[in-house]
């Protein structure tokens, strides 16, 4: 079958690879219908995610049709249209029972690697390095789904593919930021990053009753999309003093909840600071992650407020504003997405038309155009927010 593989830093290619196989009775095989790029793929592409190997199939946000089920799969049948959570979860360990699915004890087949990096092993993730289990990704014609009863969800008839595919990762990730960020009625919520996850976090905050939601980015086309489709306020951080703007828009207090949806390759308009962090990051020793937006979120957040980190970080950061965090009495939380906790609810909201996602798919295209899709996405060309691959077709996707 054909698949998009990571071949090295800044290099992806469409390869012919062996079809996936089922190794467990709880596995199933899905024929992929849509598979989206994700901002965290860029960290792989740019060489910041350790334990990638040339030939790894990437991609983790996807939807497809069940074509084969193991003997212990109970909730799915051949022919079902399913959206698959990017995070693999067993559904039965203590962490899964608490709703902390991305902390699943049983779904990472390489636990020794993250234990040495982070002290403990989080869940496995499709197509996201060997530290996260080495599972094949979804930019392929077929994908194996471990623990299928818990990791995959049947899509209701009223939800089209272009909407449902984002229930795999960006929508539940965004919802988690608002939910575990404890957004309340009347809150001012600031979101760093107007990519898909940032937009979904902003939409979730609005649905939870935030009085003002302000989304920040440096690309006007993304801010315009957020304003147009979600009705949120926007700020281009290259054109204004973000900290002062946020204070003004929160009556001098600072945002109640600050959601960081950028991650380890964030930018700053200060060219000296940006270059300095970039040099440190390239050494891989002085720091592994560039934390500009995280620092800004901590500084801007109101006293006693919440900073929720959705962006992906992998290692150490330098100059973490611990003094601000401690002395202002902030709470900081983070996680890879606990998607299994939110996906059924989000699919219901999508079916009722309450949760918008389809606008994110700016560039549907066939799988064979993988390198072009990543070029558009990485270099922010042609108004790209998400390139979405269509392995079984010509890239034309029906939207209802």
């Amino acid at each position: 079958m054909k698949a998009i593989c990571w071949e090295g830093v800044s290099e992806v290619a469409v390869e012919e690879v062996p079809d996936p196989q089922m190794y467990n009775k709880q596995d199933m095989i899905v024929k992929v219908k849509l598979s989206s790029v994700c901002g965290s793929d860029l960290h792989q592409l740019n060489g910041f995610i350790p334990t990638m190997r040339a030939g790894d199939v990437i991609g983790h946000e996807f939807l497809g049709e069940v074509v084969e089920t193991g003997s212990e799969v109970r909730r799915h049948n051949v022919g079902d249209r399913v959206v698959v959570c990017s995070v693999i979860a067993c559904g039965r360990c203590w962490f899964c029972e608490q709703g902390l699915f991305s902390d699943c004890d049983n779904s990472n087949t390489n636990p020794g690697i993250p234990e040495m990096m982070w002290g403990q092993s989080p869940a496995g993730i499709f197509g996201y390095s060997h530290a996260m289990g080495g599972f094949r990704g979804s930019h392929a014609e077929y994908t194996r789904i471990p623990f299928a009863d818990y990791t995959a969800f049947t899509v209701p008839d009223g939800v089209d593919d272009a909407t449902a595919v984002f229930a795999s990762d960006s929508a539940p990730t965004g919802w988690m930021g608002a939910d575990l960020g404890e957004v309340k009625q009347g809150d001012v919520v600031a979101v760093w990053g107007a990519g898909a996850v940032g937009q979904m976090a902003a939409q979730s905050a609005m649905l939870k009753g935030a009085a003002r939601v302000i989304v920040m980015d440096r690309f006007d086309y993304r801010l315009d999309m957020a304003a147009h489709h979600l009705g949120v306020e926007t700020l281009n951080y290259e054109e204004t003093d973000i900290d002062a703007e946020l204070r003004e828009r929160s009556d001098g207090r600072g945002p109640d909840v600050c959601i960081e949806a950028v991650g380890l390759e964030s930018h700053t308009p200060n060219p000296v600071a940006y270059r300095w962090e970039q040099v440190k990051q390239q050494t891989r020793v002085l720091e592994q992650d560039r934390p500009h937006s995280l620092r800004q979120a901590i500084i801007s957040c109101r006293k006693g407020g919440m900073v929720y980190v959705l962006g992906v970080f992998v290692g150490m950061i330098d100059k973490f504003p611990m003094g601000a965090l401690m002395n202002k009495g902030l709470t900081m939380r983070s996680a890879q997405q606990h998607g299994e906790r939110y996906i059924p609810m989000l699919l219901e909201r999508m079916a009722r038309g309450e949760f918008k996602t389809a606008h994110l798919m700016t560039h549907p295209m066939p799988l064979s155009e993988g390198p072009r899709g990543y070029d558009l996405f990485k270099n922010k060309k042609d108004g790209c927010v998400r390139a979405v691959f269509h392995p079984d077709g010509d890239g034309r996707v029906t939207r209802e």
Binding site: A3, P111, G134, R136
Partner: protein, 157 residues
Amino acid sequence: MGVIGAAVAGVVVNRIMSARNRNLWPMATIAQDRRHARWHVVTINKSPEEVAPGGRLPEPLAKLGDEVEVQVNRAVGDRGTALAARLRHEPTGVAATAARVAGTDPRQRVRVALRESKQLIETGEILQPEKVSTVKRTLTGLPVDFAVSRARGEGRL
């Protein structure tokens, strides 16, 4: 082997019973003693009776035979069962490092056995890694290949 198995089962039952009857915690696993190998412990989201029914150890751990001591206790906070194992004889010094690199360190076998026991009991099977690889062997990939080859038996467990 049968005698050893019965003895292990007796010890396990004894630990389950004594922990239950006396609400015993902390168990001896946290009383570290440099003369003994350290305990490796997993918390299993099941009752002790489900972890070791009739005193029978989970198969992956039972396979280690009398190479290890085993304890089965109620987990702290009543969050399931603490399944602990420690080697009777643990390699030290250069021999330990060499065994670790070679993939023959018995601690790696203990970690694998504990992880697999937990998976079997909690989910009913042991999740298998991808066996048909799509990766290409490259010079820069060698360290990752090595890390992956040891990943099921290494770690902080």
